[in-house]
Symmetry: C2
Subunit: 626 residues, 2 copies
């Protein structure tokens, strides 16, 4: 570690998180740096006098992650000129300014197998073969918008700066040196203009191109520029979008096929990461979705690539298996478990008649618990699993709680699946607690698609629909269930019941009212005599609420108050206008003296109810642990 | 759908799952097939007389998934000759037979930008530029092992057959036609031999090469061959390994940079899937880890690629976003939540003294709940998160239950992290219920790394270690805790306790004994008077057991028996030699008549205990739902 972690990023809006030095990746990077720093192979570029003076011992390695964290080793803040590393970025700017079609008419995308300074043009059109050789790069640079050469260059400088996340400047000495010795590039430009391919003032165009090559960067800049491409065009340090996402893959493709001069094929074989090198010794390598790599060391090999940079990139690729075409591990099956509602029901408190109906017809509701990321291949497998489990099914619950992301590549198949289910009159219910981007696009008009917050609500929704379809509509919220027929009081005599009723108070709640919430004192037992309440609580991190159960008229809640007091551990909300008969703890304590047998019966009933809930909770944990 | 799903795969050991036709992917494939079937662009190859007779209207599309499922549309079982599609596969065979170094000395890997029949060789060496042009393919074919030309060809035929998953044969007419008109290839071979690059009998070598090009395949075969490369070298239909995993990326790399003749760059730009085409109209495209694509349609474009095949592959790539360099979505943070043990403890029943110690020092135990797949980038972020949360930490629990896979690319950083923690004398405990491949490689000698089956065991292990370190060793399993000081009997008088003791029986269990299991009748309450038992149950799918809690001497289990009878919902196993005092339900029912106040006290205590367990279960669900 050379202490370069805290660099000065002028455009940086988010601080780079500081971690104690020497984590595992720091150590590996230092190890690679030490290992190849000793190499004396290669020679500093000499075709431009100013470059020939570079210190051949300089060597820097920098990595930038997708959350903008930087790892550095060696000379990572030494400035050098960007040279050909500018080519993919300026090609990107030309694409952004002129559109893909025009740029592709003017510059090809075929690997040439030629050296960087080849004069080969496409026979007939005079079109340069690709934007990574000088001819194509000069063409791309000429296609950048700008009223004047100065304006065009300023656009290029600002563009490169946005990738780097700080304002870059020009090494004027290198620029002048380059301009004085740039006759071969002038010749290429004139040949292109002669062929009718290039338009404009050749001297101005070449001058802009030379200035572009003379922009100063550091090895760390290159890693941030690479990370911006890896991050889909958004700079992960400044969080600014620099390049449209749809252009990123085009830029990475030309880097893949033509980025490393006439060693592009060998580079792809051995390193397998889209990259571009420059004659000042820079390499910028892009691992999509994962990492940006910057390297700097002046001595070059015969193909013009930095010797130490190539060795370090190859070592990084091999040590971590970063080759783009490495045989990937196969993901887990997207459906982690499938069950039907006859075997697993919602936690809504139900009558015996309803329970029997659900046991008999519950197989019409199928629940698929999904996992992992949904992309093309996993969506295909998911669609196949859902489609092969449709026998007798009328409601499909897709439990998305363990799905991290729905990738765009999954959408066509998921849309096709939902449309097919809708066509078969099967209802699809998405339990989507994470609010995934993409789920909304799967919703159709009408009732055949539903998006709810959690699995419990999805199950309950499907059960209600099933009971409705069987003419087993659940208790209307307007029906009153007197204390005498409450489940908890089943073992209580008529006289005891009447005595109890005299001790309770009636409380009324409007829809949406909170009866009590977590932390409130547990000071009363509530019998629901009309309406419906939900029991919910926050997840461990407190990020969101999820429903534990619903309690309809005829059942009770808050019974723990009579047992161990303390504070409430969940929240009760009236789902419908609700009436409760409330027995407070203070009145209950008096009752214990006066009527111990009534209290005994109540305790036994509460213990039974707790026991049932505990079994259900254990089942819930079983399902979550599965 | 042309009804080709049930193809005859002679080598196939696993049946292809049959699904009702016309799923979303079937429909999209049919749609693409219909859309481009009407195109009349392109011309059937005519340089070999036998090919010129092909029906230009033929068009087939086939996909094979990573679990060997096939999708087909159109002419997917029509035989045609493989031609140049054989090149990457025979190159793979040469690599397998001769090793990477020798093959690379004999055939380059640089894209040439030349047509397939180019005569260009590397100046000086006479080495062909890459194995996808005819020169390189003839060289690769000549490098295949075999005592004779016939033996070498049979190796090639068997090799291609293993990729296809069925025995392939040769179209003798095409072979003879090809041999009669193959002078340009003979010329190339003689030039290579002249340069000292090719060794052997040119006529034999060319003849083997012509036979290789004349092997008959179907479009479906090509999709299975592609899927075998996509699947890391294992045929997903026959499940046989054909190619070593480390050679797969080399083959895909040359397909990427040189696969589509002189349109390789444009193909990568527009389609972005490694592929190879042949002049008979076949295309074989490989989407690593996801899909194999086969296409067949004879009319070719100017570069020699199947017109309909290119259009269909481009459409598939665009519709599903399959471009290899598409900006990938960014994965979720690998650490879904982090908490310390002062806020969340194991479910082991603890004394007040122990609970206070854990509340005071529990922050020394940190739990990271991980999620997703661990690969290079997520392992980097995980290491950073763990390292920035080490303040005062002595035990790190990595909860792997939501981790689907530890990729090889994650290993160097995970190993580095564990080594660093071990060096800092921090213990790492892996809770690994899925038994992930890779976890074992993270274990070190000694007690500084631990692998346990679930989070509960991990937490308990860390807590025990913490209490030990604080000289708060938990109760030795040999200490006897009489009934009089049992938690459940705290409110029972000395006389009542003595009466109860007289009604219980003593039962002894050896370590590992099962006290009862799920489904057993709940017929007794057990007071643990010596030893330790664990409570466990099966996950919903029944795939594995997980621990719910442990119960030490001084506590009771099985109390639901007195409340609601029925069957046991969990299993109790003696973790240490254990002694219990057992109160059966039948004796308890007698006691209810004789001593109602004793029973009342017992019920209240049970209700309190149930209530505490229910709160804990709710907390557990909260954490699992988070």
């Amino acid at each position: 570690m050379s202490g370069d972690v805290e660099s000065t990023r002028l455009l940086g809006s988010a601080p780079i998180p500081i971690v104690a030095p020497d984590g595992p990746l720091d150590r590996i990077l230092d190890d690679i740096h030490a290992r190849f720093g000793a190499t004396t192979d290669g020679a500093v570029a000499s075709y431009i006098p100013e470059l020939a003076g570079a210190d051949p011992s300089l060597f820097g390695l920098a990595l930038t992650t997708m959350d903008g964290h930087g790892y550095t080793s060696g000379a990572t803040s030494t400035a050098f000129t960007i040279q050909s590393v500018s080519k993919p970025f300026v090609y990107a700017l030309a694409l952004a300014d002129r559109g893909v079609d025009e740029v592709t008419r003017r510059v090809g995308v075929e690997p040439s197998g030629d050296a960087f300074n080849a004069i080969t043009l496409e026979p007939g059109t005079g079109r340069p073969l690709n934007p990574m050789i000088n001819a194509g790069a000069i063409m791309a640079s000429s296609l950048v918008d700008g009223a004047s050469a100065a304006a065009r260059f300023e656009r290029i400088r600002a563009w490169l700066s946005a990738f780097a996340g700080r304002e870059l400047d020009v090494d004027e000495k290198v620029f002048h040196s380059e301009r004085l010795t740039g006759d071969r590039n002038r010749a290429i430009a004139y040949l292109m203009r002669n062929a009718g391919a290039l338009t404009g003032d050749v001297d101005e165009i070449c001058s802009t191109y030379f200035r572009q090559c003379a922009v100063n960067v550091t090895c760390e800049d290159l890693s941030v520029m690479a990370a911006t491409l890896a991050h889909g065009g958004v700079n992960p340090v400044t969080h600014r979008r620099v390049l449209a996402e749809e252009l990123v893959s085009r830029v990475l493709t030309v880097m893949t096929t033509c980025g490393m001069y006439d060693n592009a094929g060998m580079w792809m074989l051995r390193v397998g990461i889209p990259a571009k090198s420059g004659v000042a010794g820079g390499i910028c390598a892009v691992l999509p979705g994962q990492l940006g790599i910057g390297s700097f060391s002046p001595p070059l090999d015969a193909a013009g690539n930095s010797v130490r940079g190539v060795l370090a990139c190859k070592e990084l690729s091999e040590r971590f298996g970063l080759h783009l075409l490495r045989a990937p591990g196969l993901p887990a099956h997207p459906v982690r478990s499938t069950y039907r509602s006859d075997a697993f029901s919602s936690k809504r408190v139900r009558s015996l008649r309803e329970r029997l109906a659900l046991a008999e017809h519950g197989a019409e509701i199928i629940i698929h618990e999904l996992q992992g990321e949904l992309e093309f291949a996993s969506a295909e497998r998911l669609a196949r699993t859902v489609r092969s489990n449709l026998d007798g099914v009328r409601w499909v619950v897709l439990d998305l709680r363990r799905v991290g992301r729905i990738d765009e590549t999954a959408m066509p198949l998921l849309i096709g699946l939902v449309d097919e289910l809708t066509g078969r009159r099967v209802t699809t219910i998405f339990a989507d607690p994470n609010g995934l981007a993409g789920t909304n696009r799967l919703l159709r008009d009408g009732w055949n698609t539903q998006r709810v917050r959690d699995t419990e609500t999805a199950l309950e929704w499907a059960e209600e629909a099933l009971l409705n379809a069987r003419d087993m509509q659940t208790l209307s919220p307007s029906v009153r269930v007197p204390l005498g027929v409450q489940e908890l009081l089943a073992e209580v005599s008529r006289e005891q019941g009447a005595r109890l009723r005299a001790l309770t108070q009636t409380r009324l709640y409007a829809k949406g009212d909170i009866v009590f919430k977590e932390g409130d004192p547990a000071d009363a037992l509530y019998f629901v005599t009309r309406g419906l309440v939900s029991v919910d609580t926050r997840t461990a991190g407190g990020r969101r609420r999820f429903r534990l159960s619903t309690v309809p008229a005829g059942s009770a809640f808050g019974e723990l108050a009579l047992v161990d007091g303390g504070a409430r551990s969940s929240r009760i909300v009236a789902v419908e206008p609700t009436e409760c008969q409330v027995l407070t703890v203070s009145i209950f304590e008096k009752l214990r003296q006066q009527d111990p047998s009534l209290c005994d019966a109540l305790f036994r009933a509460i213990a039974r109810s707790l026991s049932a809930r505990l079994r259900q909770a254990t089942q819930e944990i079983q399902s979550l642990e599965a």
